[in-house]
């Protein structure tokens, strides 16, 4: 002790000399309070931003919401801004068709891929697949659009449309329009199917990574118990793992759908942009985001046009917010279970 004490005091002396006068405890506490308050205000920003965006769009679209009943806007199918006719139905249906086709095409391979990566794959396969998916997610929408234009549109035009025409089209004429969603009415390749394929690839990385996370929340003990009584791996997955994660899988799909709904440039480049109520997946469509992006230039020159376009953005925002919040609540809940266990 006697040896230690002098060195200790010596050191502390040196320190106080070197640092000069340290801030007092009161000052530091005050600093802490100030920082806490500043951080708090900054952190409110994202929470408030959602409200601000919604309210700003609502205020800007109020003139048209005030002038026309909501049902006329949402279910009217005539779009002639110069005549004062603003029916969003073709665009809403266009968005719906394109997103639905995208989701239907994306979900089976995404589910299988995420099961494979989570349950079967070697660490090595995983360490290759993960960066590839990250790169796929990093590619800008406009590049997806270029790819769609150069590869998917000709593919739909030259391969899928003739195939569908020969097999499904013949069936549909025979059955009198019961399967008319596969009929080829406009042989250009631009249309819902091309946009759906591009969208499916665009949302795949997101869906796969969320599903992968969800699969990893299932405790390994459950898998071991099932395998120990002699079940095969697939039996284990189907009977034990999938029932556990079903809500999370659904949430991942809904999340993917919300991405698909808002995708603009890539879809705009391949969907054909004809305002009509689509009847077949080979038809051209005109989704809401494409409508907004294509017409922003002239929207100040026609009365109520800007309000109409911004109310389109508002409709899109509200649907996406609902989809997002619901799916995020489910996903966060499932992931929290993992942290807890």
């Amino acid at each position: 002790m006697s040896q230690l004490t002098p060195t200790f005091s010596n050191q502390s002396n040196k320190k106080t000399e070197g640092r000069g006068d340290r801030p007092s405890v009161t000052l530091r506490t005050r600093q802490d309070h100030l920082a806490r308050r500043t951080f708090f205000i900054v952190t409110l920003l994202p929470v408030l931003l959602i409200l601000i965006v919604t309210i700003a769009l609502f205020i800007r679209s109020w003139p048209i919401l005030n002038a026309y009943p909501l049902s006329d806007l949402l279910f009217g199918n005539v779009w002639k801004p110069t005549n004062g006719q603003f029916g969003f139905l073709p665009f809403i249906l266009g968005t719906f068709w394109v997103s639905t086709v995208g989701i239907i095409l994306a979900v089976p391979p995404c589910l299988l891929t995420s099961i494979y990566l989570a349950e079967y794959a070697h660490t090595k396969t995983r360490s290759i697949a993960k960066p590839v998916l990250d790169l796929l997610a990093a590619i800008p929408p406009v590049v997806y659009g270029v790819w769609g234009l150069l590869a998917i549109v000709p593919f739909v035009d030259k391969v899928l449309a003739p195939l569908s025409d020969r097999w499904l089209g013949a069936v549909s004429t025979g059955l009198n329009t019961s399967v008319s969603i596969f009929r080829v009415n406009q042989p250009t390749g631009f249309g819902i199917l091309a946009a759906g394929i591009v969208l499916a690839v665009m949302i795949a990385p997101l869906i796969i990574s969320v599903m992968y996370e969800i699969f990893s929340t299932v405790p390994n003990d459950l898998r071991h118990a099932s395998l120990a009584v002699g079940a095969t791996q697939w039996q284990t997955i189907r009977n034990i793992v999938l029932p556990q994660v079903a809500p999370g899988i659904l949430a991942a799909i809904v999340l993917g759908a919300s991405r698909a709904l808002g995708e603009t440039i890539a879809v705009l480049m391949v969907v054909g942009n004809i305002p009509q109520v689509p009847t077949s997946i080979f038809d051209s469509a005109y989704p809401l985001p494409a409508l907004i992006a294509n017409n922003y230039g002239e929207m100040m020159s026609i009365p109520l046009y800007d309000a109409a376009l911004l109310s389109a953005a508002l409709v899109l925002l509200i649907v996406i917010l609902i989809f997002n919040i619901l799916s995020m609540l489910v996903i966060q809940r499932m992931l929290r279970r993992k942290w807890a266990s």
């Binding site: 952190t43 994202p46 769009l57 391979p109 494979y116 796929l136 270029v146 150069l150």
Partner: protein, 290 residues
């Protein structure tokens, strides 16, 4: 016994093999899509790529197939993405710190994370429309500044969540040790959390930058398009995604070719940024305490 169970045994194992096969096919399709996209962009973009493309701004008659390049769009995009990332940094670093040191895994922490995730999901076209209403309200015209603000809004949730995910892995002992020595929470945030967050911050910057440089729908409304390189924040600016988009819309094949080349340039930048962030975060992660 063996004979009795054999049939059952075979069927479920056949199923296993079949499922495994179609899973591998799915993985191959999904990862193959990346290869396909890169292949198409390189094959179509490379022939039109020239030194002029990246060193010159459009000359007279450029959009009818005459000389020039898209330097205006490259520089404009770099300005936009760098500005947006910088602005988003100013907000995302304090938010990530607040989430870690003050909120932690509390109920409010969950609300803030939820709202960040929801913001992440809002499409850029809606941000663009919002930016447009903001511009009208503030009385500014399509400009570099407006583009930067909107890109910052888009990048904010991505960057904050990226930092948050990294800093969440910080051992709670570190924080407790600092608190036990008598530091305030702010000092913990400043001296301990910041250092542990460094790999998170670099990853976030590159992620945000990559997202910002590729975004087209939001800058369409807010940044405008011009053939000149912007000289001030209040000037409109060109951007690479829009350069691709507009040139593809041209009826002249030469101009369309240049659109493919512009897409190739954009892809190269984005992939470099993405790979760079992977490499950097792996390097910097070595220096954090886990």
């Amino acid at each position: 016994m063996g004979i009795l169970t054999k049939k059952h045994w075979q069927r479920r194992h056949l199923m296993e093999a079949f499922i495994k096969f179609i899973m591998r096919v799915s993985l191959f399709i999904v990862t193959g899509a990346l290869g396909l996209i890169l292949w198409i962009v390189v094959v179509r973009g490379l022939p039109a790529l020239s030194w002029d493309m990246v060193t010159k701004i459009p000359e007279g008659g450029y959009y009818m197939g005459k000389g020039g390049g898209i330097l205006n769009a490259i520089i404009g995009s770099l300005y936009l993405a760098a500005g947006g990332t910088f602005l988003a940094m100013l907000f995302s670093v304090p938010i990530a710190m607040y989430l870690k040191t003050y909120l932690g895994d509390s109920k409010w922490g969950h609300y803030v994370r939820l709202s960040l995730d929801v913001l992440w999901g809002i499409p850029s076209i809606v941000y663009g429309a919002f930016g447009f209403t903001l511009m009208i309200a503030l009385g500014i015209r399509a400009s570099l500044l407006a583009g930067i603000i909107v890109l910052a809004l888009i990048e904010l949730p991505i960057m904050t969540r990226a930092m948050d995910e990294v800093i969440r892995r910080m051992p709670v002992d570190l924080e407790h040790a600092a608190l036990a020595l008598g530091s305030t929470k702010f000092e913990v945030a400043l001296r301990v959390v910041t250092r542990q967050m460094l790999p998170g911050i670099t990853t976030a910057i590159l992620l945000g930058f990559g997202r910002g440089i590729g975004d087209a729908a939001s800058v369409l409304f807010t940044a405008g398009y011009t053939d000149r390189i912007p000289t001030s924040l209040m000037r409109p600016t060109a951007s690479l995604p829009l350069a691709v988009f507009f040139q593809l819309g041209s009826p002249y094949p030469e101009v369309q070719q240049r659109g493919y080349a512009a897409a190739l340039i954009l892809t190269i930048i984005v992939l470099a940024v993405s790979l760079g962030s992977r490499w950097l975060s792996a390097r910097l992660n070595k220096y954090t305490i886990k």
